[in-house]
């Protein structure tokens, strides 16, 4: 029985044996997973583990050497517009003097939108998107003058204005202070509850359980997928981060290895959570 007003969850992303090659190097190796709508999924893994490559493949800007990716049952190239991308901060040319409103209006850009015109409907959508991420009051501020958290909200608003049902956030917390991270997470949770599918690449293992419904552990292939509490086992951690991964076994969610010992978890035992 589905509660009235609650979006019905459905499979929105599906990757089947997806492989990406750069020359002779395999960046993604038989990556298989699926993600439901109305979920917030953290993608974790080491640098060079293929997180950005996976996002590029989901967004349709990276060709697969083998396998398939489906976005709402379509190939990523045919699902363009359904995926909103919040890029890593170093991928953006901050020299460009654009206000928050300018950036969000880019979400309304199509091949046929000529002479930079916005329709009244576009204007309403831009305003609504900025209000949803609580950036309407700063709409005329240049994005290069904003904090990391504010910039990420502006890019989220752009994805919302675009009408994307899937939001990909690549290292969205990089350069964002903890307070702003929490504010951003709250916005994302509201969007998730409205039925958006949110994937975020992150390095912060300590806050996974608080922030995400699911995690995908990626080191060129999917080492594990599941809830943050169950996905990490010592073997998964070692697969992700090598022998040093075992040091995470002494951590658990909300405790960072120096705040006392978890009485429920003995060394060598599979941790139920980080």
């Amino acid at each position: 029985m589905v509660e009235i007003g609650t979006p019905v969850s459905r499979k929105i992303i599906e990757a089947v044996d997806a492989c990406v090659e750069f020359g002779s190097e395999l960046a993604l190796d038989d990556v298989t997973f699926s993600v439901m709508s109305g979920t917030m999924t953290g993608v974790v893994g080491p640098n060079g583990g293929g997180k950005s490559t996976l996002f590029n493949a989901l967004a349709g800007v990276q060709e697969l050497a083998h396998g398939s990716i489906y976005i709402n049952g379509k190939s990523p190239k045919h699902a363009r517009g359904e995926v909103g991308y919040v890029p890593q901060r170093e991928r953006v040319n901050w020299r460009f003097p654009l206000s928050a409103r300018d950036v969000v209006s880019l979400g309304k850009t199509g091949r046929a939108s000529l002479f930079g015109r916005s329709t009244p409907a576009d204007e309403r959508s831009i305003e609504e998107s900025l209000r949803r991420v609580e950036m309407w009051d700063l709409r005329n501020v240049l994005v290069d003058k904003m904090s990391g958290g504010q910039r990420q909200r502006v890019f989220l608003a752009r994805a919302l204005a675009q009408g994307a049902g899937i939001l990909l956030l690549d290292e969205a917390f990089s350069g964002v202070d903890v307070g702003s991270q929490e504010g951003l997470v709250e916005v994302l949770k509201v969007l998730r509850d409205e039925g958006k599918c949110i994937l975020m690449a992150t390095h912060d293992l300590n806050t996974l359980a608080d922030r995400f419904d699911e995690v995908i552990c990626l080191n060129r292939h999917v080492c594990a997928q599941g809830s943050p509490e169950t996905a990490f086992t010592p073997s998964v951690l070692e697969e992700l981060y090598g022998p040093h991964g075992s040091m995470f076994a002494d951590h658990w969610q909300g405790h960072h290895g120096h705040e006392g010992h978890n009485p429920d978890h003995e060394p060598g035992e599979n941790p139920t959570s980080l």
Binding site: R95, L98, V103
Partner: protein
């Protein structure tokens, strides 16, 4: 009053000055319009390289006794496409490949000048610009090409801004970013070529970047930077034209110096505003 008339109005009793004015306004509008992209995307070196690289095409046109546009425009477009391709396709950096290409082409042009006997134009005019010598055909070609580029830049304004600001995001949303980059480079090469008679090969980069840089100091948002830069560009080009006429100096340096003076004023204005 008579003196004002002598300085500002009387030059236009000559038809060559009216032609020069049309070209100046075209250059003053088009160079900063593309210049804001050049400045904000860090393409200054590329713009300078494109200008130098069209020398062989121009010299060939003069040797054949045809309009310099017939040599410079195909060369400029070919160079723009080559630069776009080289920057993405080889294991040498973009700056390095551009540097090698432009130095080689400029050298070929200089060798052609040395070997050719009795060129119908002074080398100094090619390098520094001589706006007072333009023909009616030059005006028609310049006006038409400038208008074409203006329509393209205006029509694809949002796409070009998106591609310049966040190329990956633009690709994700479905924009043909690679083609837009090529289109911008080709437009830039056309603007450079139509500006050569006014400011010359050596100084065209100054009209591309100086008004745009000054505009960025005066205004904040991109569209306002664009508008300010165009106003500064037109003012620099027309003032430079007057200086070239009255002082009998090449038009390239005179336009450049006016633009530079405005840039210095913009720096001072920006500093005062920051201190307040």
């Amino acid at each position: 009053m008579t003196e004002i008339f002598a300085v500002f109005i009387s030059p236009f009793e000559y038809s060559f000055m009216i032609r020069a004015l049309v070209i100046s306004v075209c250059v003053g509008v088009m160079c900063p319009l593309l210049g804001v992209y050049v400045v904000n995307r860090g393409l200054g070196f590329m713009g300078d390289a494109m200008a130098h690289s069209v020398l062989p095409g121009m010299v060939l046109a003069f040797m054949l006794g045809v309009s310099p546009f017939l040599g410079a425009i195909p060369t400029g477009i070919a160079v723009a496409l080559a630069i776009g391709y080289l920057g993405k396709s080889f294991r040498v950096s973009e700056d390095t490949s551009i540097g090698i290409l432009f130095a080689a082409l400029f050298s070929i042009g200089l060798v052609m000048i040395s070997l050719s006997k009795g060129l119908s134009v002074r080398v100094e005019d090619i390098l520094l610009g001589q706006i007072l010598g333009v023909s009616n055909t030059d005006v028609i070609i310049t006006f038409s090409l400038a208008g074409l580029v203006l329509i393209i830049i205006a029509a694809l304004h949002r796409q070009l801004v998106f591609t310049s600001f966040d190329p990956l995001g633009a690709t994700v949303i479905g924009l043909p970013t690679r083609w837009l980059d090529y289109l911008l480079l080709v437009s830039l090469s056309v603007v450079i070529v139509v500006s050569l008679q006014a400011v010359g090969i050596v100084l065209v980069v100054a009209m591309l970047i100086t008004p745009a840089a000054a505009g960025a100091l005066i205004a904040r948002r991109f569209t306002r930077v664009m508008a300010s830069s165009v106003v500064i560009g037109v003012f620099s080009a027309v003032c430079g034209l007057y200086l070239a006429y009255h002082l009998d100096i090449p038009s390239g340096p005179s336009m450049t110096l006016v633009a530079t003076a405005i840039f210095v004023l913009a720096v001072i204005y920006n500093q005062i505003r920051a201190d307040q």
